[in-house]
């Protein structure tokens, strides 16, 4: 599960959807890996405005990376700075959460991540 994907996930419990505490989910006991994925600059530059940057900062910090700046880079920055583009690519696309849990900050439910796949099926009492 990519850091990029974590930016689009929230708790599967209906009552949590409207709560700000349910996003982003909090990684717990996370084991990370880095895939070697070919960089797609156009995709990355266009994806940037779709990122919830504040949530990405939270996730990034919780995964043990140094704190990201408050503001996202501009598309211009990305276009002109190949190294910067590569760093973003590494964080969003190549960094994988392989094992661990994703915890909802609202209801506290923990979703298991195994072999890079998160399981969001709910126990019957939470459906």
């Amino acid at each position: 599960m990519k850091v990029m994907t974590l930016n689009f996930l929230t708790c599967a419990v209906k009552n949590c959807k409207s709560s700000n505490d349910s996003f982003p989910l909090h990684p717990k006991e996370a084991e990370l890996a880095k895939d070697d994925i070919e960089i797609n600059p156009q995709l990355l530059i266009n994806v940037l405005p779709r990122i919830d940057w504040a949530a990405l900062r939270t996730t990034s910090t919780e995964l043990g990376f140094p704190t990201l700046p408050e503001q996202p880079p501009s598309p211009e920055d990305l276009q002109s700075d190949e190294a910067l583009l590569k760093e973003l690519h590494e964080l969003l696309m190549e960094t994988q959460m392989m094992e661990g849990k994703l915890v909802c900050g609202h209801c506290g439910h923990e979703y298991a991540v195994k072999n890079g796949v998160a399981n969001f099926l709910l126990p019957s009492h939470l459906v």
């Binding site: 599967a12 996003f23 266009n46 140094p66 501009s74 211009e76 459906v127």
Partner: protein, 409 residues
Amino acid sequence: MGSHSLPSASAADAVAKLAAAEALKSTAAFAASAPGSSTETALGTAQGASAAGDAGPVTAVPSSDTPSVAVDPEAEAEAYERANVHNVYEAIAPHFSATRYKPWPAVAQFLHAQQPGYVGLDVGCGNGKYLGVNKNVFMVGSDRSANLVAHANELANDVLVADGLSLPFREGRADFAICIAVIHHMSTRTRRQEAIRQLLKCVRPSGQVMVYVWALEQGESRRGWDEGGEQDLLVPWVLKSQQPKPKKEKQPKASKQKQKWPQQQQQQTHEQANTPMQQQNHDSTEPQEAITAKSVGEKEATPTSSSILSPSSVPKDASMTIGGGTGAGVTEPASAAAAAVAGPDAKTDTGDAAANADAVFQRYYHLYRNGELEEDVLAARGAVVMSGYERDNWWVVATHATNDDTLQD
């Protein structure tokens, strides 16, 4: 925190650079590919909701077949689907996956119409065959079947396990979503409409959702289903007990489809210019060879086809079925029923009941009649952008109702 393998120097470098970056500002280069500037895709500008009627082989719409199961408690419907859909897919996942490699043309066209950098969802992604169709979008796939998801390892995409009615996606964030051959597995109309509602919630206000379901009107297929027929069916999936590998079994069909595929691609590419998609569908005259991916395994595995041509009918009231036949969506042999409950591993020993016994897994389907899918979109507070018929399937592209100003006639 767990360890990570990004060199910390590199990460720190990234932070420094990001910190140095100026606040986000819009540039010409960026605006050119920004999402808001181009929601009118090739698909979006095609003709409207009347497409279904134009494209389908059947125009009359039976009106007496509205399922009455909506009053059933959710729990019963869920239990029914668990037995007659979820458990079956868990059990047949490897075999099923081996038969799913070719994208539907209408779906591929929808995916290719998305802008670079769009974020898309594939709800019910199965083995993930749609995740890599357009390499310039970022897709996240989800499926109810963990075993199918295990087959969906697309390097550039992500997959997760989730129920279509309890999706973990942040609302309004995706640019588009697809839901292919999924909703027809839900056993009440309320649940089918709710599934579409959940899909719509995932996409931004002008985002589009493509839904694809099996049609009741399959006049050109050999299954024998057509207008006026029973809509709620159990459809068998036969796992040959003596098959060493699903792949080998698929060989003849695979080569046959290879011959057809370039031709279709050509057609599709040609059509992409500005011809409405339903025209292409209408012109399709190869229902048997390029038949639904679904039927491939079924037909292949059932030489006599008898069970395909006369599928057992399901009582409209799903609760009756639940009460009567509990457990797995498997009818015969007896040991196969246990296999479906026990899960995927059990299929390896289905042969011990009788030497040549095939495991027959029954999947629940609701066959959509002409116009029904559009009705469900409206009930889900969506608007139909366009719709059509493609080889035994109805499809629709929907968006949020409040953003729709193209039809409503």
